[in-house]
């Protein structure tokens, strides 16, 4: 998903085209759900959160930025909504731990059962490792390495200096790899 792919849909959504909105939802739902999941850590909460993000996007559709500015703006809205959601949830109940069996169910249908199982296992490990990072490192990895935003965009979305993102991005990757290694050893896969 990049800005040029979304540009025609964005224009039509801005004009209030209901069919374009539906197409937009179907096109980005996987990305928004994945982002929501990285914050919520729970499938049902991630659905609620992703829906909230879409409702916010729908309400503001006449103000959507055009061109290359759209994607960073989309992630900024999603991130702000997620942070608000987590704040509200922390008042209601403590954050849930990651359910790895649930993560395994998240795998997209692959060509073969074995390949699917392997990929599912890798996803599960990565999710578990991501959840064990600090909040800021996790956000940097998710935005930079999972969703492919640039360092500048990540710094802008998180509201932190560019240098901070640069230095933290390297450390966060190493930390993530260590966690993956430790988790896989814990499962007897190393």
């Amino acid at each position: 998903m990049d800005s040029s792919e979304l540009a025609p849909l964005v224009e039509r959504c801005r004009a209030g085209d209901a069919a374009a909105w539906e197409a937009f939802v179907r096109q980005v739902q996987g990305r928004m759900f994945a982002l929501a999941y990285s914050y919520a850590g729970d499938r049902e909460d991630a659905r609620d959160l992703a829906q909230e993000i879409f409702v916010r996007l729908y309400e503001a559709r006449s103000q959507w930025p055009r061109g290359d500015e759209f994607l960073p703006w989309l992630f900024r809205v999603a991130r702000n909504r997620s942070v608000d959601y987590l704040r509200r949830r922390s008042v209601r109940r403590p954050p849930s731990t990651v359910d790895e069996t649930e993560i395994a169910e998240l795998a997209d249908p692959g060509p073969g059962a074995e390949a699917q199982a392997i990929e599912s296992n890798r996803r599960s490990l990565l999710h578990a490792a991501l959840r064990s990072l600090s909040a800021i490192n996790r956000e940097i990895v998710v935005l930079r390495d999972v969703h492919g935003l640039t360092i500048q965009q990540v710094a802008s979305i998180l509201g932190v200096p560019l240098g901070t993102v640069k230095s933290r991005a390297s450390r966060a990757r190493v930390e993530l790899a260590e966690r993956v290694l430790a988790l896989s050893r814990g499962r007897g896969e190393a």
Partner: protein, 259 residues
């Protein structure tokens, strides 16, 4: 030193496009790392936090760092797997029901109720409500402390009106009882005036002593209560006079001091 430079070692370690194993297996690179303290320190810093790896040296150490770098690269390469996930069947329908397919609210009541709910949900609502309440207060009472001023100037009169008659009745009753319980005047020789020439019996003397004590006690309590009440009323009068400015008029029902 060998043919490879420190900069090349570092660039090769950091370059994600290079397969680290390829260059690290080169004898010149391994030899360089083995001999170069600065490169070992740099690689050490690169692998910050791993005490076990720090204890290794030379080619083994480099291999460990390379393995680590390769591990990081592999993990980073896999991360885009998490970028897209299936939210489950019906998610898009659910979103559309909450957005473009949501029925418009019917009638002005629903619209007003929706607008009110949206208004109340905003974090700033508390501040705005406090501001509006302050404006209403000023409009109603003229100034922010108008109600307090009114209370100060009127509470004395209100209290006198409500509590004055019961206190007067209490005092009248006590005076009556005081009169009834008062013993007959005693003469200078110790005998009561009138027909009672002989000393009173023990029971009568006891009764007289008890009533006398009670009389003094009740009288003191009533006097203390009345004095306290008059002081409070006078204080309120004085306070009201100060709040509303100097007045030449005496209070309509000023409390008299007991004389």
């Amino acid at each position: 030193m060998t043919g490879i430079t420190c900069d090349q070692i570092r660039a090769a370690t950091l370059d994600p496009g290079t397969r680290p194993g390829d260059w690290a297996r080169r004898p010149d690179a391994a030899a360089h790392i083995r001999q170069c303290t600065a490169c070992r320190a740099w690689l050490d810093a690169f692998a910050a936090g791993e005490q076990a790896w720090r204890s290794e040296r030379g080619h083994d150490f480099a291999a460990a760092v390379i393995a680590r770098t390769a591990g990081v690269e592999a993990v980073v390469r896999d991360l885009p797997l998490l970028a897209d996930m299936d939210p489950g069947a019906g998610f898009a329908e659910r979103v559309l029901s909450a957005t473009s397919r949501r029925p418009a609210p019917e009638g002005w009541r629903a619209r007003v109720s929706g607008a009110w709910r949206a208004l109340v949900r905003r974090p700033r609502f508390t501040w705005e409500a406090a501001y509006v309440a302050t404006v209403c207060w000023v409009l109603l009472f003229g100034n922010p402390v108008g109600a307090i001023e009114w209370s100060a100037s009127n509470i004395g009169a209100v209290a006198r009106e409500r509590l004055g008659p019961p206190v007067k009745e209490l005092r009248a009753d006590l005076d009556t009882w005081r009169g009834r319980l008062a013993p007959a005047p005693v003469s200078a020789h110790g005998a009561t005036s009138g027909t009672q020439a002989e000393p009173a019996p023990f029971v009568v003397r006891g009764w007289q002593a008890a009533t006398s004590s009670l009389r003094h006690l009740t009288s003191a309590v009533v006097d203390a209560l009345a004095l306290a009440w008059e002081r409070v009323a006078a204080w309120f009068d004085r306070f009201a006079g100060q709040s509303s400015g100097p007045s030449t008029e005496p209070p309509a029902d000023a409390v008299r001091s007991p004389q």
